[in-house]
Amino acid sequence: MTLLSLRQVHKNFGETAIIRGVDLNIEAGERHAIIGPNGAGKSTLFHLISGLHHVSSGEIRFKGEEIQDKPPYEISRLGMARSFQVTNIFARLNVFENIRCALLWPEGLRYSFWHLLGRQDPLNEKTLAVLEQIGLADKMHYPAGELAYAQQRALELGIAIASGAEMILLDEPVAGMSHSEAEQAVDLIRRVTQDKTLIMVEHDMNIVFEVADRISVLVYGEIIASDTPAAIRANPKVQEAYLGEVVSGA
């Protein structure tokens, strides 16, 4: 079943065309990585899918519903969650509250001002479960802004996965991490995204080949190849555009 499909998606910022006619289908349960050189438009593509930016033309469907004109919160409510390349958490709230906020809408509490959070047992139990999962249970009373970088990245991921969304978009989840931190993070990503559909933008090719079962290569706003990791590695066009130098350099 196709969960997400992009049809002839274009995005211009003023005169500059950033995304130039992207077609992409993501099947339910797939782990899809988007790679490409700097400035290829990977993050922009994520912003279009998640509703932060809107397409100049083209169509994006999620679960069969057109979402290209919807604001982020409506797309989120349909079951799509995302993380950010630059850590994007609620800095003054503590770690527990960060995760609990991400669970409020999925738990049906919406904009309520007549429910007391302290009395929502299922909500609070689920929050603790997510904290255990991302390994931050012992830090739950710390203000999120005071966590170490790798912990903030784990929290960033936690906010994205807490809602139990079917589709998760991760924008460079291990950017800026040391090698050992990145390994732990990949472990975590694998565990928490089991049975989910995952799209990931990542620079580290080892991680991409480790996690993804399909890879799309985005170059100057166009997808030049979309295939299995093995086929992508062997694709001469990809090697020329991007991969060759990275692989030989690594």
């Binding site: 969650a81 609620f90 709230l93 906020c101 409020l104 904009y111 429910h115 959070l117 906010i159």
Partner: protein, 408 residues
Amino acid sequence: MIQRVAIWLSYLGALLLLPLFFDSVLAISIFNQMAIAIVFALSYNMLLGQGGMLSFGHAVYFGLGGFLAVHALVMIEFETVYFSVVLIPLVGGLIGLLAAVFIGSFSTHKAGTVFAMISLGIGELIAASSLIFVGFFGGEAGVSGDRTYGPPFFGIEFLRDVEVYYLAAFWVFLATLFMYLFTQTPAGRMANAVRDNPERAEFIGYSARRVRYISFCAAGFFAGVAGGLFALNYEFITEENLNAATSGRVLLMAYIGGLGYFIGPIIGAVILTLMNSLLSNFTDLWMLYLGILFVLTVLFLPRGFAGFIMMHQVAWIRGKLTTLAIPYLLTGIPAGVFAAAVIAMVEMSHSESDAFNFLGLSLDPGGALSWLLMLVLASASLFATRSSLPQLRAAWEGANSLPGDETE
């Protein structure tokens, strides 16, 4: 949980017992002002502290609530409507809410500068209208009513200030409780989340605008309640109560008290009311001192008085709070002397009369001796204060550190 109930019970107890210990006319009138200020400042903090919305026009909701409340008093007097004046704060609240529902529908679109500028514009607009629509706002004289004409509430006719105080105390307690409970709801917590990061809030299912709007309406409601209390207490209201000066004063209260803490605005409301009503008896310059207090708070206590108190939590938990007493005195006494000397010079340069009495000293603005004395005193105490800072810093670090513990 038990601790929390204890705090609320002591709050209630303090509200109930205060007039028994201070029963002068002046004290009761100050308590009534405090009650009004507490509700108003707490409602302001729903915007700025909790929701990250810097408003320069919060007096609009206070004032509109107050004006309608006075009109309601008049209607009760002329028996156009029939209900107890006990409910007047609720009338004010509903009007505040109504105004916020309308104004918030476009002003909460963005936080930051856009929101601040709209709040300023609306504030000016309403203040200007109040001088134009004389029929409703009463022009510069304002409008007045009489709270004693309504049907008696269990025999109470609110002829005495203390009766008004207990009515106000009832509403203050209720309003404080509900504003606190609001912070514990999904809408209240998401207000904090949107304050911290509106972009991310949208990716967990919430429209930042809607979250702000809800807080804004709640803040408008409680500001209106405060306006209703004002109407009950003073029985008149003028344009001054919805203009920028009033909006500025509530900002000062919340800021000086501490925006980051629920209790902060209460502290700020108490401090400012005391300064307003007591200090103004001694000096015409009290506004100047208030301004200096504000600047000093911004510079040295960015988290307000509540933040200053909360800074001592670690030392308190570690049982080292008492080790700070002597160091505080060593710095506090010369700092106090410095402040007194500076104030003496300010008062001397302001004074038009010959000699006046200041803290037991006879000061003569025309005499060189008084000036010289104060100058020497100020320089010496400033020097002493500065020299005492290292010991204070050392004591502070000693009280907060635990060997082998680096996390806190």
